[in-house]
């Protein structure tokens, strides 16, 4: 592999890589603002200027202050090149930390902060702001300008999701390039020149495409802020867990940012994965974190005498066991969920197969939604592939389930998740199911939904931020997500709850921990990232 030298360190590069990209791949950061690995090169911030000593170096005539003579004298300085634009060459000698390069970084940083508003205490970006970080590493000095900074519009509503602050903006054009190149929607552009530069919307438009939150994500400063996250949490209190979005079958990789003090998730951020989602996520995916804390079912529900009573989780588990005890073997319908992790689906199917001997397997899922050819997949469910793999490749639909209930083929239902394509009226037969000795629909769910409303016993389980598990996306890639927050009130994961219910029924299974579940899952149901033909590796 060809290499070049960056501050004495050998950096390998691929043909066509720029210096900054090769360094980025090697894990070495050259200070930059406007460059982004997923966008085109703009080279307008000038922060990544480096000294290239090999090849033909241009020397520029400058005036230098001579301390002894107390006057300016003629001198030369090497012409610096932007590392984001210059292609790496074999045996190049690049210096990002030489005296000239550091002075350039210092000056660039000073210019960027010249008219910057004193907003740190109220700016969301504080704690993850490149201006703050590079001030400490590059500038380290106070302001030299004594005049009033230039004032520009602040708090401009760009759309339903984004607010723009022109004073904080450093005009790096990342947002413009993102909308142009990734979304294909030229809704943002720059206006005026020099000091009075500003980002504006196309006339008559607002920022309303499906990836608006990514403009906030690429913005290196607090110019573009998300209205959803604005003022909610300070980022240095948030810890990040690696997650997978449960919004659709693309399975974008995420960082689940949560505050461990309150055990609450405050936002998602995209996690880079070249194979799956590149560097981005869609707005709906970014908003799925609301489902971790809103519309949750946190206590059991038991229907008795026509009324739905709330019950503590333990009682709901016992009630579920009582209901299932009386079920005729072979007449139980098991409903897998395309919204739930493979581990949950696997243990449910195992219980149904081993203890009840049933082969009536159905799949519930959210309906299809609007797709595009950027990231959004038509299938709104993260784990249809995983649930189907558990069922052996085929499962009947919810419409089939209603028919089978009405015709008496099945006399009891155990279902996972509350999401379904049918509405409450269509699910009425399930709600009115009278098995041997009483109502017979047990539902395990984390959130409220139509399927939970049609159950006679609802047992609360952990949401997917509260457990570690696997989703298999539309490409067939199995991706693991890690637990971020604790489930409230002693709520356990669905697979743990099923083992608990099974214990009441006399079902013994040699599974105690997540690793045991994963070892038990067959090879065609991978639990580790990799092709589906790879053997299931023990989880870390």
């Amino acid at each position: 592999m060809p290499t070049f030298k960056l501050d004495g360190q050998e950096i390998p590069f691929e043909e066509g890589d720029t210096i900054i990209r090769a360094a980025y791949r090697a894990g070495v950061e050259i200070p930059h603002y406007c460059w982004h690995p997923g966008l085109s090169i703009a080279a307008n911030c000038r922060m990544c200027l480096v000294e290239i000593r090999s090849g033909r170096q241009m020397a520029l005539p400058v005036l230098k202050w001579d301390e002894k003579k107390k006057e300016y004298v003629e001198a030369t300085k090497p012409k610096l090149q932007p590392a984001c634009q210059v292609p790496a060459g074999e045996d190049m000698e690049v210096y990002a930390a030489s005296e000239v390069a550091l002075k350039a970084q210092e000056s660039t940083q000073e210019f960027l902060l010249l008219n910057h508003p004193v907003d740190c205490p109220i700016c969301d970006q504080a704690g993850e702001c490149k201006l703050q970080d590079y001030w400490l590493t590059s500038q380290k000095k106070l302001k030299r300008k004594k005049t009033e900074p230039v004032h520009k519009p602040k708090g401009v509503r760009f759309g339903p999701t984004i607010v723009y602050d022109a004073e904080r903006c450093i005009m790096c054009t990342r947002c413009i390039r993102f909308c142009d190149e990734v979304v294909g929607d030229h809704v943002l552009d720059m206006r005026e020149r020099g000091n009075t530069n500003e980002i504006v919307l196309s006339p008559g438009r607002e920022l309303d495409h499906d990836y608006t939150l990514m403009t906030e994500h690429v913005c290196p400063v607090g110019a573009l802020t998300s209205r959803d996250f604005r003022f909610k949490a300070r980022v240095w209190f948030l810890k990040s867990s690696p997650g997978v979005c449960n919004g659709c079958a693309t399975g974008c990789n995420t960082w689940v940012d949560h505050d461990p003090r309150y055990q609450r998730v405050y936002r998602l951020r995209p996690r880079d994965n070249e194979e799956v989602n590149g560097y981005w996520m869609c707005d709906d995916g970014m908003m799925t974190y609301h489902g971790f804390h809103e519309d949750r079912i946190l206590t059991g529900r038991v229907r008795a005498g026509g009324r739905v009573n709330e019950a503590p989780r333990e009682l709901a588990v016992q009630a579920a066991a009582k209901v299932l005890e009386k079920v005729e073997k072979g007449k139980l319908a098991v409903v897998l969920s395309a919204q739930h992790a493979s581990e949950d689906n696997y243990v449910l199917h195992k219980l149904a197969r081993e203890h009840f001997g049933t082969d009536h397997v159905y799949l519930t899922a959210k309906p299809d939604w609007k797709a595009d050819d950027i990231l959004r997949h038509r299938d709104q469910n993260p784990n249809r592939a995983g649930a189907l793999a558990v069922a052996g490749g085929k499962a009947k639909s919810m419409e089939d389930l209603v028919k089978d209930v009405e015709s008496g083929v099945v006399t009891a239902v155990i279902s996972l998740g509350a999401a379904t394509t049918l509405n409450e009226a269509e699910l009425a037969p399930l709600a009115n199911l009278e098995g041997v000795g009483g109502a017979a629909h047990v539902n395990l769910t984390s959130n409220a939904g139509a399927l939970a409303s049609a159950a006679s016993v609802v047992v609360p389980v952990a949401s997917h931020a509260e457990m570690s598990g696997t989703f298999i996306n539309a490409q067939g890639i199995a991706q693991q997500f890690k637990k971020a927050v604790r489930a409230p009130g002693g709520i356990k994961t669905a697979w743990e709850t099923l083992i608990e219910i099974g214990a009441h029924l006399g079902w013994t299974v040699d599974i105690a921990r997540l690793n045991d579940v994963r070892k038990d899952m067959p090879a065609k149901l991978p639990s580790a990232t990799g092709a589906s033909s790879a053997p299931a590796a023990p989880a870390s």
Partner: protein, 405 residues
């Protein structure tokens, strides 16, 4: 019939079969300074062996330092040797400044010297006063503590607190000296002299005091060096090692002062050593106050480590960012380690700090001088009697906060 008891030739030896008695001088004992447990093996009143068990005041300072920023170490540093907190503050600040390579203005160094030596005076006043009190001389304790209180008033005037000031900062001090510093400090010196004179008049020719301190708790210079003792404990044995002369730091090489040295290494020598050091401290303070620039900044102008002026913090983005980084992430010394040592109240107070480049210390290790003095205390005590434990232990000035951290 044989006599009921036998005449013993040697008072100390027993002819009857017997075992040494184990007596516990527990962690809370009214006659001991600080919480220390000593399990004594006694032969009558004579101490055959003593098992000194420190650690009852261990508060996990060094570990707690790893859970905050560098500047959040100062309250912990204060509570090490809590009778001379300024010396600990200054010691730690010097350590981090050494790691960073940060220069402080001259005015700051002189200010640190003045406050540090005042703290040393307080330390010695307390130690000697308490030693005397434990021997039954209650009055000198009250005289010396009265003067100490007036010194604490000066420290309160300067720092805002009498004892736990947390006044040191990396790159300077929390506030510049007040205008009354020189006046109040010089006014206190005649009072210190007077109190010491009266105390010495009462004690130095007192038969009881001399019998109880001279020849008691002896330590030889070889053993003192072998055990790692420093400070008055070492100097009372005759070794003239003082960090301020041997490895001058701050401006101690600009001052003219002596190092008092004893010759027997007994309680009496330690007592006198401390008083003489006290007088030398007063001499140093006088010179420091003369040489100190009367105006000018006290803090380093490097805003990577020192808070910028509030005017800049509120009105410029750079000031805000500097303040933000210092508060939220802590100042970031370059990765590396340093051992910096100063003369604390009890001897060589060292700070070994390791930085991993982040705002949180990786390791802050304090070399507590009285830990090693305490180890040597065992040798001083073996062979003496229970009653000798009190003045001996008092004279090594074991401060629980520093010893156990």
């Amino acid at each position: 019939m044989e006599p009921y008891y036998e005449e013993l030739e040697d008072e100390g030896s027993l002819e009857l079969p017997s075992e040494p008695m184990k007596l516990n001088m527990g962690p809370s004992h009214p006659a001991m300074h600080g919480t220390i447990r000593m399990v004594l093996d006694l032969d009558g009143e004579t101490v055959m062996d003593v098992d000194i068990q420190p650690g009852y005041l261990h508060r996990g300072f060094e570990k707690s330092c790893e859970r905050g920023t560098w500047s959040q170490v100062f309250p912990y540093a204060d509570r090490l040797n809590y009778v001379s907190p300024m010396l600990n503050n200054v010691g730690f600040a010097l350590a981090v400044e050494k790691l960073v390579g940060l220069e402080v203005p001259e005015r700051c160094t002189y200010y640190r010297t003045v406050l540090g030596e005042l703290a040393r005076i307080c330390d010695h006043l307390t130690c000697n006063g308490a030693t005397a009190m434990e021997l039954g001389a209650f009055t000198p304790f009250l005289w010396l503590v009265k003067v100490r209180d007036w010194i604490w008033d000066i420290l309160e005037q300067e720092t805002g607190a009498r004892l736990t000031h947390s006044f040191g900062r990396i790159g300077g001090m929390a506030k510049p000296p007040t205008d009354q510093l020189e006046e109040t400090v010089l006014a206190i010196f005649p009072e210190i002299d007077h109190a010491m004179m009266e105390t010495e008049a009462l004690l130095m020719k007192n038969r009881i005091f001399l019998d109880r301190t001279q020849g008691v708790g002896n330590l030889s210079p070889e053993r003192a060096i072998a055990m790692g003792c420093t400070g008055p404990v070492l100097r009372s044995t005759g070794v003239d090692y003082d960090v301020r002369k041997a490895n001058p730091y701050m401006f101690y090489d600009r001052f003219d002062f002596d190092i008092p040295v004893g010759h027997d290494g007994d309680n009496y020598d330690r007592f006198v050593c401390r008083f003489e050091e006290l007088r030398q401290s007063m001499k140093i303070i006088r010179q420091a106050l003369e040489q100190m620039p009367k105006s000018g900044p006290v803090n380093s102008p490097d805003i990577r480590y020192v808070y910028p002026e509030k005017e800049d913090v509120y009105n410029s983005i750079e000031g805000t960012i500097a303040h933000f980084k210092l508060v939220m992430e802590g100042l970031k010394p370059p990765p590396g380690e340093v051992y910096s040592f100063t003369e604390g109240g009890n001897g060589e107070l060292g700070f070994f700090i390791v930085s991993d480049g982040s705002g949180t210390p990786y390791r802050v290790r304090c070399r507590p001088p009285c830990w090693y003095n305490l180890a040597a205390c065992k040798e001083m005590l073996v062979g003496d009697m229970i009653a000798d434990i009190i003045p001996t232990f008092g004279s090594i000035n074991m401060i629980g906060g520093e010893c156990d951290r």
